[in-house]
């Protein structure tokens, strides 16, 4: 794996804020079809640079569970490495959009509040990991790529 590219990717996520809303970007790591690099390796490399927690979004995990894990990570100022292994359902997609646009989570009837709003910690970020083929064939949301700023392609 190209260490320089990974470092630039992390640096951009840490530093770049979009004008004028001053929001941080979400990052996307794409594993290209011929790549030999696995997600564990990428995760471990990132873990050496920033405090990060891994969440695998697959059949065993509900959207609500992922959102809860995000809230916990944000409370601790940690990053989230979200590996996508099933099509993104509406509740999670809504929160990813909230994060991408405003760096907030906005939930209805959550934790005893009519509207639960939580700002992503200044030191937290979200990195989504997915395989190129999976994005192109399994993700039904047509503007998936647009959720993200910096994109790291693993070749």
């Amino acid at each position: 794996m190209n260490q320089e590219k990974l470092k630039t990717f992390i640096r951009l996520l840490q530093k770049c804020q979009k004008q004028p809303s001053r929001t941080f970007d979400l990052g996307l790591v794409i594993k290209e079809s011929k790549s030999q690099i696995n997600e564990e390796e990428v995760f471990n490399q990132i873990k050496k640079i920033v405090p990060i927690e891994k969440v695998i979004y697959d059949q065993s995990l509900l959207d609500e569970d992922v959102i809860e894990k995000m809230i916990e990570a944000f409370k601790k100022g940690k990053w989230i490495f979200l590996e996508i292994k099933k099509d993104i359902r509406s509740p999670l997609l809504n929160q990813l959009k909230h994060l991408a646009n405003h760096n907030i989570l906005q939930l209805i009837d959550y934790q005893g509040k009519d509207i639960f709003g939580m700002k992503m910690s200044e030191s937290s970020r979200v990195i989504v990991f997915a395989e190129r083929n999976f994005i192109e064939t399994k993700i039904s949301y047509p503007h998936f790529y647009r959720l993200f700023g910096p994109t790291l392609s693993l070749k």
Partner: protein, 539 residues
């Protein structure tokens, strides 16, 4: 002037003229300063006879000769309005959208904005909410996709489960087509029982839900919790002075609901949203949901809905806006940003008008480019041209990728942000190499995303030509120069102090003198030149 035509203007008319002048206000370079005006009014409360100060904003399109101005009450302070105003790039399209939002909000008419990415639909709905409620207040946002369920927007019954395993089992069941069908059937059955009271309907719903649980092999005695979705919540939500929200089914004030990407929603979602259709093109005063036994939900006075979507002809998987929905809303269709607006936006980003400038030079910054708008303006011309060209190509679709990724203003915002502290030094001069710095940022934010290798190569070559080639040359201070040459001149100018510049001028002058003397020396040695001329040269 014909004296018969002179008439006294009423105080209202004079005030209107004053507001209109402020809306149309322009700066010394004809830049838009108006569009949004804050005013305070002192009113006497009829009952208590106490004086009360109310805050208002006026919104109008400053590009119009006779703008239609909308007056709205606001919770925001004058300082907040000024900050919010500065965050809006005064493009013609921004004010067109803002004007439509303000006018439809005032008349409680739902609005649908159909327009391409980057036109500012989301951003301006956010800014409008801030203009009404204060800095940092966001509307209730709901993003549609092909997977959006009606229950997320309207209401649902959620089973109370004890264990993780039960939770998962339920979720799987509720997501199944069979469960969706059954729940729909329950709804239809309850709606048909018109003679039943609300309590009886609720009891029927409970029985049916228990039966559903049993048929799915789940605990029959499952407890259920009722949960409203985004629409009823927004109808009866009140924003409290501490910034929190509270929901009251009967007395809530209502809030702004932005339903985004409505073009992706399935027909059943659209059908549910049609409940919001009220009389005379307004929002419904109340809606009824079978899920709560048909209890009416009142629409608070500040409830308002704005829908947004991308045009179907340009974006994959977008449906045409449903005709019934299109009839139920004020439909505002926007085209692409004009070249003039795109240039204005780029100018704003690269002259750093939208953000607070760093107090001290950040690490990685060779030249404080954010303090030199004359350089930013030249950079913006290059980025704007490149952005435009690439966007045209991307709209045609990309080889090797199904999903289209149209460019947004965020892309240029990222380049502008990077240009502050990701600067490359020119090894020869020791100063900022603006051309190389800009190239690197454009590669990263515009070109590295491309899946189409051929397009990437072409765009790279185009960028080089634009910066350093003959076709990219423009007139600068009377000379035809490449952008790189212009960048170098501008960087040189601001990088050197007055003293250094004088020294350099002196060196140049001395060099010139030396060259002249050298030339005269050669001429004096030339035997072909007559003595009379040599004499003149010596003098």
């Amino acid at each position: 002037m014909n004296p018969e035509k002179i008439r006294d203007k009423s105080p209202e008319e004079l005030k209107e003229e004053k507001i209109e002048a402020k809306i149309k206000e322009r700066g010394p370079e004809r830049e838009i300063l108006g569009g949004i005006v804050f005013e305070e009014e002192k009113l006497i409360e009829p009952e208590t006879k106490e004086e009360e100060t109310k805050r208002y904003i006026y919104i109008g399109n400053p590009y119009e000769e006779r703008p239609i101005i909308t007056k709205l009450e606001t919770d925001a302070s004058e300082e907040e309005i000024e900050v919010i105003k500065k965050e809006i790039i005064p493009m013609r399209e921004s004010f067109e959208i803002l004007e439509a939002i303000a006018r439809t909000y005032k008349h409680r008419q739902p609005l649908l904005i159909e327009g391409p990415t980057a036109i500012g639909k989301t951003y301006l709905a956010d800014k409008f909410t801030e203009l009404l409620y204060g800095k940092g207040v966001k509307p209730l946002d709901f993003y549609c996709s092909g997977q959006t369920d009606v229950s997320e927007l309207m209401a649902k019954w959620v089973p109370k489960v004890e264990t993780e395993e039960e939770k998962r089992k339920w979720q799987e069941f509720l997501e199944s087509a069979e469960a969706q069908r059954e729940i729909l059937k329950i709804g239809q059955e309850v709606e048909q029982k018109e003679k039943l009271s609300q309590e009886q309907k609720l009891a029927l719903i409970h029985t049916k839900l228990q039966e559903l649980a049993k048929s799915a092999g789940l605990a029959e005695r499952t407890q259920w919790r009722f949960q409203y979705g985004a629409v009823p919540k927004a109808m009866e939500l009140t924003r409290n002075p501490d910034g929190s929200f509270s929901f009251d089914e009967q007395k809530g004030m209502g809030f702004i609901l932005h339903i985004e990407e409505i073009g992706l929603a399935e027909p059943q979602v659209i059908n549910a949203l049609l409940k919001l259709r009220g009389e005379r093109g307004r929002l419904a005063e109340e809606i009824q949901l079978w899920e709560n036994g048909g209890k009416k939900i009142k629409s608070g006075p500040k409830f308002w809905v704005v829908f947004s979507t991308n045009p179907p002809e340009e974006y994959l998987a977008r449906n045409e806006v449903d005709p019934a929905l299109a009839r139920a809303v004020v439909f505002k269709r926007m085209g692409d940003l004009s070249e003039e607006s795109l240039n204005l936006a780029t100018d704003y980003y690269f002259t750093y008008k939208l953000e607070k400038k760093p107090e001290k030079k950040p690490e990685g910054c060779i030249l404080d480019i954010y303090n030199h708008p004359e350089i930013g303006r030249e950079v913006s011309k290059v980025v704007s041209a490149f952005h435009n060209d690439l966007n045209k190509e991307l709209k045609k679709g990309e080889k090797g990728r199904q999903q289209r990724i149209p460019l947004t203003l965020d892309d240029m915002a990222r380049v502008a942000d990077g240009l502050i502290d990701e600067q490359i030094r020119n090894e020869e001069t020791g100063q900022l190499d603006l051309t190389e710095s800009l190239k690197e940022l454009i590669y990263l934010h515009y070109l590295d995303r491309l899946a189409d290798e051929d397009l990437k190569k072409t765009m790279k070559a185009n960028l080089n030509e634009l910066l350093e080639g003959d076709t990219g040359k423009i007139k600068f201070e009377g000379e035809l120069l490449t952008r790189k040459e212009i960048f170098d001149i501008l960087v040189e100018r601001v990088s050197t102090t007055e003293e250094e510049r004088k020294k350099k001028e002196e060196i140049k002058l001395r060099q010139a003198e030396f060259n002249v003397q050298d030339a005269i020396g050669s001429l004096l040695k030339d035997e072909k030149i007559s003595e009379s001329i040599k004499k003149l040269l010596r003098e």
